[in-house]
Amino acid sequence: MNAQQRERQQGVARTIRRTLLALVLMVGFTIALVPLYDVFCEVTGLNGKTSDTAQVVAGGDVDTSRKIEVQFVTRTSAGLPWRLASETHTIWVHPGEVALARFTFMNTGLEKTSGRAVPSVSPSEGARHFRKMECFCFQEQWLEAGERMEMPLVFQIDPQLPQGVNKLTLAYTLYPQGPVLGGTYEH
């Protein structure tokens, strides 16, 4: 083995170390992308997701110069014999004002089951300005067969809401919770 070949072999070893390092970094980056995406969405309102923990009331004045129409849409999904209804379709609030909306859950099935309401806000730019102080969507709910329960949503529209937005739609989709087997839900 001559000098040139030794040098080449060392070079190859170095390159492999570097590419493997790059590979590991990329794997790490990929794993990091999932939480990064959530952070990114929360900051930019990319996907209309709202915060999944209770927020405190933002201080500051109520902006009485404008009124925002907040619209509620509810859906249930396959596999959960529940109904979810909102008391009203829309309420009008001033930015900064703390408001309350009531939702009624009903289990029309024959067994005790659990479900969770997943919120989404449109336009998605409004998502991060939709502050929820109390919401049934923070955790899963259990209902006995035939049980009916009323649950409140306490929220506030951040006065920072962009000027162009004057209507927010909050959609709740009710999903079954519990063991997920083979990709389909047991009920």
Binding site: Q4, Q5, R8, Q9, G11, V12, A13, T15, I16, T19, L20, A22, L23, M26, V27, F29, T30, I31, L33, V34, Y37, C41, T44, G45, L46, N47, G48, K49, D52, S77, R116, V118, S122, P123, S124, E125, T173, Y175, P176, Q177, P179, V180, G182, G183, T184, Y185
Partner: protein, 555 residues
């Protein structure tokens, strides 16, 4: 992982300089005790043999994937559920895409890289010959698994080659886990191949050859290999998350558990868009080798070609969401991806202009590789222009997920990448086999392919604009004429590829005009100093390389 160079026999007389007209010098055989027959191919660590294996595998996959495309085209020949049921149709479109992308185009380029990079940079072999063997043999395993899913209960993957969640997770067939396994194996194969190529290019160049002296094919592959290293882990990550969602109750992509189906698309296209460039950059390198040869004039703007390739590669990481204009991104994001996508057209345009400037005031002849390369330039440009149209987000609302998109990416990949691969085959076949490809068969292959491919894909622009969504087995009556044309074209193109097989068989059986070392008059590069066919072991002693004389960037 211990890097290992192939042993260097001392008694061996290296071939250097021109051996014009020389027939194959038989010196490959006496190196080691080589197993013969099947075992030899199974265990080979020789870059030329592995390159051949890769290319034959790609050809086989091209025909399997092509047959699936013809099943699709047969169903679409006329409206109605006429030939196959929708479940099977969806499996065919999905498998066609997966096989063509991961089984045909990528392995074909890796095969070309294996064959050509060592001989173009004057290296005796790839840097990691055994790893090379391993990364090839992962592919047949991977695609056997993938194809076997078709025979499993519930059928194979039926969710499109982009496998969007939750169609591929919560609603996927039971065979999805096998599909994920197959993709993992193909991905590992690509990553290992990329590491090998980078190690070879950066370390085994003949003395005096600087990076800016490398042929463009080597340059494009170096950049492609970096892209592979960067994005294949992302693909692996996505499919692993799918696997967890399907089998272990996580919900990365399932809204029911707090996940987000759109996250899947972001991750997939963060891999997928660079992947698109992985499938086209080596084609740029091939065309940049062939056009100067038959224009008998040096490539115009060598350096700007390198720069343009690099900036295309970098920009390819920041345009992914143009595949997702309709998922409901906020306005700012929409604008960002529209602008960045439009800008990526600039370096791509530079490449086309450089090729044309190379032709300008050359001395042009029209041999088979040149014909395929010229067709590549025209057809790829058509695909590029429809790409610019697709970049305009508001208009993309009308184009998105229609046959216009199908026409666009097929123009880039079939009359584009596939034509470049065919051009490469015709260009280097004399070097590989020692004989020129049969001109009559080759001409027939070329013209039938050009007509077939354009007849297939050009009408798709119109069916798309007229409103035909992609991935549908049955369609409204106003799309019938265009689809009939596309189907006729598809069968013409598909069947005419048998001529290519005939050309290759003739070359392998050495039926044809013997080729000298310098097989093409205007060709430049170290590979043309080797006799045709190139012996199994070459450049055991690094060849002489004088940048002022041999570099493609000399003055």
């Amino acid at each position: 992982m211990v890097p290992e160079l192939p042993p260097r026999p001392d008694k061996h007389q290296a071939i250097s300089d021109t051996a014009a007209g020389g027939s194959a010098v038989d010196q490959g055989g006496h190196h080691h005790e080589q197993p013969t027959g099947l075992l030899r191919w199974l265990l080979t660590t020789n870059h030329k043999e592995i390159g051949t294996l890769y290319m034959l595998f790609a050809l086989l996959m091209f025909f399997i994937g092509g047959t699936m495309a013809l099943i699709v085209r047969a169903e679409l020949f006329q409206p109605g559920m006429t030939f196959v049921v929708p479940e099977f149709f969806n499996q065919m479109t999905t498998m066609h895409g997966l096989i063509m992308v991961f089984g045909a185009i990528m392995p074909a380029f890796v095969g070309l890289a294996n064959w050509l990079i060592p001989v173009q940079i004057g290296a005796p072999d790839m840097a990691l010959p055994r790893l090379n063997n391993f990364s090839f043999w992962l592919l047949p395993v991977s695609f056997t698994i993938l194809l076997s899913t078709l025979f499993m209960e519930g059928g194979g993957p039926n969710f499109g080659w982009t496998f969007y969640a939750p169609l591929s997770t919560t609603y996927g067939p039971p065979s999805t886990s096998f599909f994920i396994l197959a993709m993992h194996l193909a991905g590992i194969s690509s990553i290992l191949g990329a590491i090998n190529i980078i190690a070879t290019i950066l370390n085994l160049r003949t003395p005096n050859m600087r990076l800016m002296d490398m042929p463009l094919f080597v340059w494009t592959w170096l950049i492609t290999a970096f892209l592979l290293i960067a994005v294949m882990p992302v693909l692996a990550g996505v499919i692993t998350m799918m696997l967890l969602d399907i089998n272990f109750g996580t919900s990365f992509f399932d809204a029911a558990g707090g996940g987000d189906p759109v996250l899947f698309q972001h991750l997939f296209w963060f891999f997928g868009h660079p992947e698109v460039y992985i499938m086209i950059l080596p084609a740029f390198g091939i065309v940049s080798a062939i056009v100067p040869t038959f224009a008998r004039k040096r490539l115009f703007g060598y350096a700007s070609m390198v720069y343009a390739t690099a900036s295309i590669a970098l920009l390819s990481f920041v345009v992914w969401a143009h595949h997702m204009f309709t998922v409901g991104l906020p306005l700012t994001a929409q604008l960002f991806f529209m602008y960045s996508t439009m800008l990526i057209a600039v370096p791509t345009g530079v490449k086309v202009f450089n090729w044309i400037a190379t032709l300008f005031r050359g001395s042009i002849s029209f041999e088979l590789p040149m014909l395929f390369s010229l067709a590549f330039i025209v057809q790829f440009t058509i695909g590029g222009l429809s790409g610019v149209m697709l970049a305009i987000a508001p208009v993309d609302f009308q184009y998105h997920d229609t046959y216009f998109v199908v026409a666009h990416f097929h123009y880039v990949l079939v009359p584009g990448a596939v034509f470049a691969i065919l051009a490469a085959a015709y260009y280097w076949l004399p070097k590989w086999s020692g004989v020129y490809p049969n001109v009559k068969l080759g001409l027939a292959h070329f013209w039938l392919s050009v007509i077939g491919v354009n007849l297939t894909f050009f009408p798709m622009h119109f069916s798309g604009l007229a409103g035909m969504p992609r991935r549908i087995p049955d369609y409204a009556l106003q799309f019938a004429d265009f689809n009939m044309l596309s189907s006729i074209g598809g069968f013409l193109f598909g069947i005419s590829q048998l001529l290519f097989v005939a050309v290759i068989v003739l070359c392998i059986r050495k039926k044809g005009e013997k080729a000298p070392a310098q097989a093409w008059e205007g060709a430049e590069g170290l590979e043309w100093q080797l006799p045709s066919p190139a012996p199994l072991h070459t450049f055991d002693t690094p060849p002489e390389f004088i940048p002022e004389r041999d570099s493609p960037s000399r003055h």
